[in-house]
Each structure stands twice: as C-alpha cells, then as structure tokens.
Symmetry: C2
Subunit: 388 residues, 2 copies
C-alpha cells in the first residue's frame, strides 16, 4: 500500500511508490525502514555489500545493483558522507535511475555547489537534512522512528523543480518529521552553532578525560557524561562533516575558544597568578583584564542560551510535571506502578529509571500532564508507593 495522500495544506503530492536508498548507514537504513512501514517499495545500495545485506535482513528492503534496468524510482535518497553526494548524484542521474533526488548530508552548501560544478541536473535534486542521529552508527543502529517529530531541513534553489520538492515533502511526511525550509548557507551556519561546533567542543572536553588520572574518572557525575556523550561519535564521519562546513564551524569555534580562554584568564587572576607569557590573550577583547564578574556574565549568557532551546517535542521546555517514586528492584515492580497509573486514568508521557545495583531501591521519574500529577501521586500513595 503506497502513499498517495495530500499534505496538510490540501495540495496534492507526488506519489511515492518506490525509492532507492544509496548508502545504508544509520540514516539511510532508518529512512528505508520508515518507508517500508508505509508499504513503499525500497531498494538498497552501498559500497559495502555487508551493510546492504544487514539492512536488508533488518527489513529495510531488497538489494539493488547499478547493472539493473527497470523503471525509474520516484526518488533516490543519497545517504553518503557530504563530500561524496554530488559525485553520487551525477552517477545516478547519468543512468536515469530516478525521477527526483535528495540527500541527507549534514552540510548543504558544499554538495549544492559541487552538483552545479559537476554539471548535475539541479532541477531534479532537492538538498535535505534530517536533524536526527545517534552516537551509534551503521544499519544495526537504524530505527523506523528515528525521525518522528524531528526537524527535516530542505533547501530548494531557484533551479529546483516544484515536483522534486513535492516528492521530498512526501518522504519527510512518511518519516513523521517536520519539514523546515531554509537556504543552504543559512542551514550551514545554523548547524555550525547547534551541532558541529558543540561536537568539537564536546571532543575537547572528552580529550581531557583521556589524559586524566583514574581518581578523576571515579568522581565523574551525570554532568560530564551529558557534555561528552556526542564525542563518542565516529571521528571519520565527523571529519567529513566538519571539513564540509569548515568556515561556519571555525567562526563559532573561535568565539567559543575566546570565551573559554577569557574565563581561564579571569580564573588565573582570581587565583593570584599572572596569565603566563605566551598564553593566548582572550581574542583582543575589551575584557582582557576581566575577573569573576566576567565569568558570571558568561554563565548568565549560557543560562539565556539554554532557555532558547525548544522543548524536546518542539514545544515549551517543560510542559510536563515530574513525579518521583521510589521503586524496588524486582520483576513486576514497574508493571504494578504502571497498572496503578492506568487505573487512575493517567497517561505516563515519559519515564526515567535510576537503579543502583547492590541497593534494593531506585527512583523512577514519571512525566505526566501537569493536571494529572496530583491524581497520580494520590493513587500511588494509596497503593503504598513512596513519593519522596
């Protein structure tokens, strides 16, 4: 059963009966799985035959070979590193493999410029970028729901055909993502701030852990785990992304480094130490000789910045009330908890469980609609649960 529906605007969309996914890594395979769930015919290609076989066995579709003939696919999704997108696009277009083409690379100006200079048919290509990922990579980490509720940027140019855009919008809709139209340069500057520079910064913090004594690691809490989580990502993949968006990322990193160096200089002065000779001055700023008030101001800018991040569902940052419950460490403990919530008519929106082996107790944090919190707390207490 293929998708022949209408967009929310009521405009008819191109039918999406068949797609080719080139590159069966995390993103390509997740797109394939999402479309298979809607009955779209999906074919798979990758330089690595093992990756295609694994993706296929996971139910992402059947392998495809460039030697095959047959009718053109409605859409070819090019899911390869950014620096290879344009060459792949050219090769597919020369064979007339599909009616329309898109990519999923994390940078957009570079593949568009390369497609132009290689002489690709730019009318049938719409550059795209789903803002979804995991610190794991490869087809085994793929999930059909990877894009649910996530932004999916797309960057039509004046040369792009409206039909190609419609086809891509159909794909985005089937993946459950939110289409966000944005210019390629604006996209690249945006992801430099919200993705690429944070990745390098997380790596620089994690690099300190690589050389720290064991004692320091033993004192690691949740904060440093969160700050460095993305730094576990594949260095080769990220080198490709960063070099494809080099100048925007460099500009953000220069501002980050200047702030951190200025904070370090302020702290040295607070400790009564002069900033050592040869130490980088904080970027020739007027606050060269600033002290702790400057550090406080940086922390305050940070608070302002975190407050601007939309909530994880795209809404305000804290729409749910959180209820903490102490739970035991036995099978069935959570089943009883959720049963009580069910009987009280309360829907659990989100749940986190903190569990400590060797101790009989942990804490579950349940997120519910604010108006349901008191109902849930009352019901849990009435059943003997301990709410701290």
């Amino acid at each position: 059963m293929a998708f022949h529906g209408h967009l929310r605007s009521g405009k008819p969309v191109s039918p999406l009966d068949s797609i080719l996914v080139v590159g069966t890594g995390l993103i390509g395979t997740s797109v394939a799985l999402a479309l298979r769930e809607h009955g779209v015919e999906v074919r798979l290609a990758d330089l690595d035959p093992g990756a295609v076989r694994l993706a296929s066995e996971l139910g992402a579709g059947l392998p495809w070979s460039a030697q095959e003939g047959g009718p053109a696919f409605d859409l070819a999704v090019i899911a390869v590193p950014p620096q290879y997108v344009a060459a792949e696009l050219l090769a597919l277009q020369e064979r007339g493999v599909a009616r329309h083409y898109t990519d999923v690379a994390s940078v957009k100006a570079l593949p568009l410029a390369q497609a132009e200079s290689l002489g690709c048919d730019v009318a049938s290509f719409v550059a795209g970028h789903p803002l979804a990922g995991r610190e794991r990579s490869g087809p085994a980490a793929a999930r059909a729901d990877l894009f649910l509720g996530r932004p999916w940027a797309y960057c039509p140019t004046p040369e792009t055909s409206p039909a190609a855009v419609e086809t891509l919008l159909g794909l985005i809709k089937l993946c459950g993502a939110e289409a966000v139209r944005v210019g390629a340069e604006e996209h690249d500057r945006a992801v430099a701030v919200v993705s690429h520079a944070p990745h390098v910064t997380a790596a620089a913090v994690a690099a300190r852990l690589a050389e720290a004594p064991e004692t320091a690691l033993g004192l690691a809490g949740q904060g440093v785990r969160d700050v460095t989580r993305i730094a576990a990502g594949d260095p080769a993949l990220w080198t490709g992304i960063l070099s494809g968006n080099a100048l925007p990322v460099a500009k953000v990193l220069e501002a980050v480094a200047a702030d951190i160096a200025a904070a370090a200089a302020a702290l040295r002065r607070t400790a009564g130490h002069d900033v050592p000779d040869g130490e980088p001055a904080p970027g020739g700023r007027a606050d060269d000789l600033a002290g702790m008030p400057w550090v406080t101001a940086l922390l305050e800018r940070g608070v302002t910045g975190t407050g601007r991040i939309p909530g994880k569902h795209g809404g305000p940052a804290s729409v749910y009330a959180n209820v903490q419950v102490i739970v035991g460490d036995r099978p069935g403990e959570l089943a009883r908890l959720f049963q009580v919530a069910k009987e009280a008519g309360v829907n659990i929106e989100d749940v986190r469980l903190e569990h400590t082996p060797g101790l009989p107790l942990g804490a579950a944090e349940l997120s519910v609609q604010p108006q349901a919190a008191d109902t849930l707390i009352g019901a849990l207490r009435a059943h003997g649960w301990h709410i701290p």
Copy 2:
C-alpha cells in the same frame, strides 16, 4: 530508629543519632531527607527562613536556632557555598554545637586552608563532597535518594581525628553513597576536569545559542541539548565554586581552549582562508599549521576520553542490552508492556520513552540483562508488540 551498625569492613562506626544541617539548599535538604528515612534526628538552619520552613515542610527535620542550648549534635553538616564553609565552621565550633563537622562543598583545598588560618578545630572536621547534583537548586528540588550509588569524596588530613572520619562514613553509608578517600588537592584537580571546566565549556556553547537566529534553534537536536544541559545551573552558585577552585579550573580550560582554537584554525585553512591577524595561535603548539588530520586526532582523543567514563552505575559502560519497542500513546500501554516482562520473569533495569505528541506512536527503550534480551523480545512479539 537510629543507625548503630557496622561498616562493611566490620569496623564499628560512631553512632549517628542526631545531625544539624546548616544550609537547606538542594544538597543540605537531600542529606536531611536521606537521614530522616533512617530515623536520625535532623535539625535545620539557613540564613533564609523561607528555605528552612520549606525544607521542614518537606519532612527534612525541625528548624534549629543558634540561640538554642541542648546537647551537642553527633555531626553538623555545613552545606553552604565553598567560600563560607570555614567561617561557618568556626562559628559552630565556638558554640560547641556538634562533636564532629563536615561540609559538602565542591572544592576542598580552600575551605581546609581557611579553617586552618581562622584557627578552627581541624581535628573534629572532615571535608566532604557528594558528587551528586541537579540543574535545579533549592530545597524543593531535594530528594532523599539523590546520593544513591554516587561517589562521596572525603579528605581527611593528618590532623583529622579517626572518630570524625567514622562519623562521616556513617553519614555517607546512610545516604547510600560510595565513600572515596582522596587528598584535597587531588580532589580539586579531579573535579576541575570532570565537573568545573565542563560547566564553563557548556556555558560557552550555550552562549552561542543566546545570540543565534531563531532558525538555528529550530534545528537543535538532542546533541546540543545534552552538551548544554548543565549550563542552566545557577550562575551565582557556580561563580562561587569556580573562584574557589580557580587555578585547577583555569589550567583545564586553557587546554580546552587551545584544542578548540587549533581546530578552528585547521578548519579555516581547510576552507582556504588564512587565519586572521590577531587570532590567538593555538598555544604555540607544534601543530600550529595542522589541518584536518589534527582535527580527526582531536575527535579520536575525545572517543578515548568518553570510553574512560565508568558506566552510570559505576560498572562497565554497557552492561545492559537495549530492546526497542514501539508503543502507542494510550493509558495502560506501558502497564501491559511491563506486565508481559513480569510474566516472562524479566527485570527491566532501565527504561526511556520517546513520545511525540500528535503522533500515535513512540518508542520505548528497555534495558535488561544481556541474557534476558531474547526472552523479552520473544515474549513481547508473542503478545503483538512491534520490535523494530
């Protein structure tokens, strides 16, 4: 019922019948709540009468006034910002308020040095630091289980009396934390790496979000949320912590800033731009003219660093298998899920739910013992659950 037990080593510990908590913020109130659960008599003091009243209403203990007489407490827990610990210790000791004293500040060398120079009785004082926290602060955010399974550093000096150490170990045990003995300077260098410098770095990344266009925020994914989460912490509180550990933090930040500046310079060269005049050179390093291979090496150091962080339960980083299940958005859906796990005899160690309003489906990620994963998957599939 008070705690008169033995430590795991079999050594007798000092009885802990009564404590005074001075400073009813997040940490002080959480200590109080944890000890109340064990029947210890807890009294509360704070410069802010509203904070004491709120903590008391939350069940953390009864308010205490410095004008009161009465027998000495077994232990006074000084839970005030690091720069005020020594003065508070002196004031309490001059009144003979407790037999032993500890603190919970995030830095240790400064309060110890100040206690010495103010002429405090250093024999009855053991400096301590529970490695637990939240981005929220104040008594309302306190939890009795905040310290469960977390490290709790303590720093005895040659002058510290063994009885004072025993009393603090009793407190740590009642809070469910793991005692970690460490020298004050070593502690401060460690937390500079795993807590204080990551905090400033997160703020520097979040500061970019404060000035970014709305488009950029709309493309924010989970990565930047994780990197910047701790930057939402209270700037005044963190200014006190950072100035109390100024030199160790400055040294770590200088290394972080140098790595980030060097990555920025390498990216500028990759983009074909010269590094602008007046730009900070990357700390006079031999890699001044490095390119993308240097960036790759930084990312690889980051991967190494993240790999050294112990798992969240203090064990290896990935002891559990993760099973993903697609769940609907109705009350009772999770209750049924956990019921199936219970009937299969599988204990859910951890659970995360990703839920997207407006869409009927989300994904639950269940962590289980690796040998139980197949059992759980089989049981869930047999009951009609969809495992992607």
